[in-house]
Amino acid sequence: MIFLLSNKLFWLILVFAPLLVACAFLVPRWRPGLTLLAPWMALPAFLMAVFVKSGSSIRIPWLLLDAQFGMDATAKVFLFFTALIWLIAGVYAVFYLSDKDKKSRFFVYYLFAMCGNIGLILAQDVISFYFFFALMSFASYGLVVHSKTKSAHHAGKVYICLVILGEAFIFSSLVMAVHLTGNIYLSHLPASIVGSPMRDIIIGLALLGFGIKAGALPFHVWLPLAHPVAPTPASAILSGSMINAGLLGWLRILPLGESAFPQWGILVIGLGLLAAFYGVFVGLTQSNAKTVLAYSSISQMGMMTIIVGLGLLVPDLWPGCWAVLMVYAAHHALAKGALFLSVGTAATKISVPLLRYLRNFGLLLPALAIIGAPFTSGALAKGSLKYVMSSVSYHYQWAYLVKWLISGAAIGTTFIMARFLWLVWPKKIEKEKEVSVKLGVYLSWGLMLGMVGLLPVLTQVQEFIKLPGKETFTFLKWSALWPLVVGGVITWVALTRRWKNSFCIPEGDVLTVYTRVLTLCQSAILVFVRFINERKEELSTSLIELRHRITSQSKHIDHFAQNFGSWKVFGVMFLTLFITFFLLLPFN
């Protein structure tokens, strides 16, 4: 094992194997086999996350600008859930997608994006991190527009514009950070940013750049467009694992736990809280199940943003916050992945009653986990988040308020999950529409559900993460039940009273505002360009007139103008010039 880990080839194969498989798709004969192979390219990474201890790393000086790969505590957690989601969603996709041509196209983008996602977790230097981040972002464009519908193209356009914007922000923050640090190792960045006058620019740019990927306000607009239009397994990947790449970016660059940045901390916590509520509020008005989930992701990422903000606010508490964040990220990724996968299995025909009940339980489980019901991973995540908030309240009085607001958001989460379940729940009326789904889809979905159920136990057994305080077994607490109960009761009342929701916000909410502003700018530019062109035309017509006047006056000039470009005239002129200068030279 130690030999393997110190071997460069091992790491290279581990990281770049998906790319090789993707290239092999060039041979049409191999494609059917390769589509079966593709999901399993995530397995080595998953095994690594489980078995490799953090601390091992390797330098590859000839790759990019001195690349370094390695495993640390954060990478271990992220790799665990990321690889798992890629693997399960990939298997799901093998059975779920029908058209063969489209399938191999899907898996080419899938492999590229997977390579990027796994690579950016293992990257320990800025350049390879940025490379893998870009690879993932650009490759997942193919996943977003996979269905080639009009809405998919629209979503793709919004997505790629924000990717480009994000790349620009990330590039500049990384360049500045590396300039300050003097080397490109990620682990050195946060500490060297702290003392510099440029730190605020770097922090701001990093928050913006990675915030786009993490669906943070006000750049969340691509999420509710792109996540729903992608094929179901791709939605699970986008909302489950890729969204966390933004979070990882924050963890890698921001000086968390190094020094206190109260202004940034409060701003980030505020934005996180706002997102937590905003996602719920807009999500409730949606009528597409996947869009509801995308808004739920915005809300949940808001929760994680709050924890990042705590790290900026109270650096001493960062180790505890870090652990909570790890649990929260893993919990949300797996549960959200399972929820998206259930969209494909919900409206299907099952004749055996027992299996039908099992399926319905499967629809409920991840939703309960997201709400934070007792015995689920959500209870663990939210319980420990509240514990951390109590510690913060020793430093800042208002943290109590935030704690209560988080509970309020949990009630909102109950609403939004109820909304989702109401939308996907198998209804008798739609019997004709029911489709049969392959067994493999169910099995992979079941596997994901199993992981969601097991996560609270896994985090304890594996000792991945040491949660702060005595709250380790929070997920057993019955007190976690109250948001569920309150939310559930209100929902039940709403349903029985048939409160009709006539209020609907378009997908991507403020995007309409953005596009309107952009179109205004565009038309302003066009008016300006037209103005310039008109002036130019006027000028050129007057020039032509002038030329006509001159040429008509003298035949000699006319003759000259015609031959101006000819070889001889110019050659002679130039030679004369040349010789004159040389003759002048001695006089100088």
């Binding site: 790349e167 360049v175 300039h179 470009g565």
Partner: protein, 498 residues
């Protein structure tokens, strides 16, 4: 070793004599001409390799031919000239292969290939020139040999474009000549030296030296297409695709940029430039060019015109890197000389392929072409992403070093210019990629690829694939000592001397 001093001349002669010999070949003598072309191009690469090996091991190569009044023709091989020679040798071979396929079945091929080889020898001469006088001689030679290539098609539009080209470049040449004479009267004819030669000029002449500097920039700026001297470049797009490719990648535009590099580093010297405070103006000029070129590119529907404006913008990255004082910015600027060349030649090859294979020259006609010409569009995509600066393509390495260099010289505004430029690059390259791969071409019925394309597919396809591969490799293996980046680091070490 006397022989070794002749090596630069041999390298020059490989393309020069090829050009002369081709003029004497009969038009229909295709195989001899192709053989001559390719044999000499390979021979040249071999000789350049020999030269590189020698320079790396510390040999000094200098060929000197005294003329009059102390003006000598000097060919010498230092690390900077080798970079440019190497680029031109490799791209000559690839472009020749491409041109053989591209021009098959057309007339006036002897004239074309003759001037083509002469043009490359002029570029080689510029690269190897050991003093300003030699540089200027070859610079003018380049103007005269590229003119017949620009007007090769013989159409009215081509002749008009050729005339514009000549007017710009000859006026530029005249300004350069004037500046050279003036400079020689102040400092005497002196060879290029690493870290400059003019710092010894007496202080009372400094105002004159500054004026001369800007005259030199003006002269070289015409070919480097600095705004507002760029007018000829988009017009010269009427030339056949291989000519545009070579023009933009290594021959004319790069000759201008290379001239500016020589002036700043080996004539004035970077420290002396800093002392005179003349680089700020150059940096601003480059920045304006970068932004202006990108904005103009946005509004072009003709693919080659869009690429032309993109060149206007990208070549000024080199100048910006030179003007933002500091070793890291220098690395970024000079390495972009190679990177931009490789990426841009790929784009032009691909544009030529689209025109040959499907008669497409406008971006609005490109919907769904990726399905019909996947390899061509694959190469195009790699190069275009490289231009935007997406890792791991070569363009990213340039952008990274330019950004770091700007910060090193505490000029934050240069980072902003870079960012704005990459956003604009994305805005005009991504729609092309999107149209080619993701849009459906339902409205246009596809009649199949032209017979010319299917017959010459190899000639036309391999060169862009090789250059696209190089774009990737130069980025991925940038850390290796013999990558362009590694070599440029060596050059920079010598220019800054620490």
């Amino acid at each position: 070793m006397i022989m070794s001093n002749w090596l630069p001349l041999f390298i020059l002669m490989t393309s020069f004599l090829t050009g002369i010999a081709i003029f004497f070949l009969r038009e229909e003598n295709h195989s001899t001409r192709s053989f001559l072309n390719i044999f000499n191009a390979v021979l040249k690469i071999f000789l350049v390799g020999l030269l590189m090996w020698g320079v790396f091991n510390g040999h000094v190569y200098e060929f000197r031919f005294p003329l009059f009044l102390g003006f000598d023709i000097v060919l010498n091989a230092d690390s900077l000239s080798l970079l440019f020679v190497c680029l031109s040798a490799i791209l000559w071979l690839l472009t020749t292969i491409y041109a053989i396929g591209y021009l098959k079945g057309t007339s006036n091929q002897s004239r074309f290939f003759g001037f083509f080889s002469l043009c490359v020898s002029a570029t080689t001469g510029i690269a190897l020139a050991g003093n300003l006088f030699t540089l200027l001689v070859f610079y003018e030679f380049l103007t005269l040999t590229t003119y017949p290539l620009v007007v090769h098609k013989g159409t009215k539009e081509a002749v008009k474009a050729g005339r514009v080209y000549l007017m710009y470049t000859l006026l530029g040449g005249a300004v350069l000549f004037f500046a050279m004479v003036w400079l020689s009267s102040l400092a005497g004819p002196a060879d290029f030296t690493e870290r400059g030669i003019l710092s010894s000029v007496a202080t009372e002449y400094h105002p004159q030296i500054i004026i001369i500097f800007f005259l030199l920039i003006l002269g070289f700026g015409v070919k480097a297409a600095l705004v507002p001297l760029h007018g000829w470049l988009p017009k010269a797009m009427v030339a056949p695709a291989p000519v545009s490719a070579l023009l933009h990648a290594v021959a004319v535009v790069k000759a201008g940029a290379f001239g500016i590099i020589r002036v700043v580093y080996d004539l004035y010297g970077i420290e002396f430039c800093q002392q005179l405070k003349i680089l700020q103006g150059l940096a601003i000029m480059a920045a304006i060019t970068i932004i202006y070129g990108s904005i103009r590119a946005l509004f072009q529907d003709d693919l080659k015109r869009r690429l032309a404006y993109s060149t206007v913008s990208q070549v000024s990255y080199i100048i910006l890197g030179v003007a933002a004082i500091g070793p890291i910015a220098t690395i970024g600027g000079i390495v972009h000389l190679v990177h931009q060349g490789i990426m841009k030649i790929t784009l032009f090859f691909c544009a030529g392929n689209l025109a040959e294979g499907m008669n497409i020259s406008r971006i609005s006609e490109m919907n769904g072409v990726g399905r019909h010409m996947p390899w061509t569009m694959g190469a195009f995509t790699i190069a275009a992403l490289g231009m935007i600066g997406v890792p791991p393509m070569a363009g990213f390495i340039s952008k990274w070093y330019l950004g770091m260099g700007a910060l090193q010289s505490s000029q934050l505004w240069i980072v902003l210019v870079l960012l704005l430029s990459s956003l604009l690059n994305a805005a005009y390259f991504l729609p092309i990629i999107y149209a080619a791969w993701f849009k459906d071409s339902k409205e246009v019925s596809f009649q199949g690829l032209t017979t010319k394309w299917t017959q010459n597919r190899r000639y036309l396809l391999y060169p862009p694939l090789v250059t696209a591969g190089l774009t990737l490799l130069m980025g991925i293996f940038a850390g290796l000592p013999f990558s362009p980046l590694g070599w440029v680091k060596l050059i920079t070490l010598r220019e800054y001397g620490h």
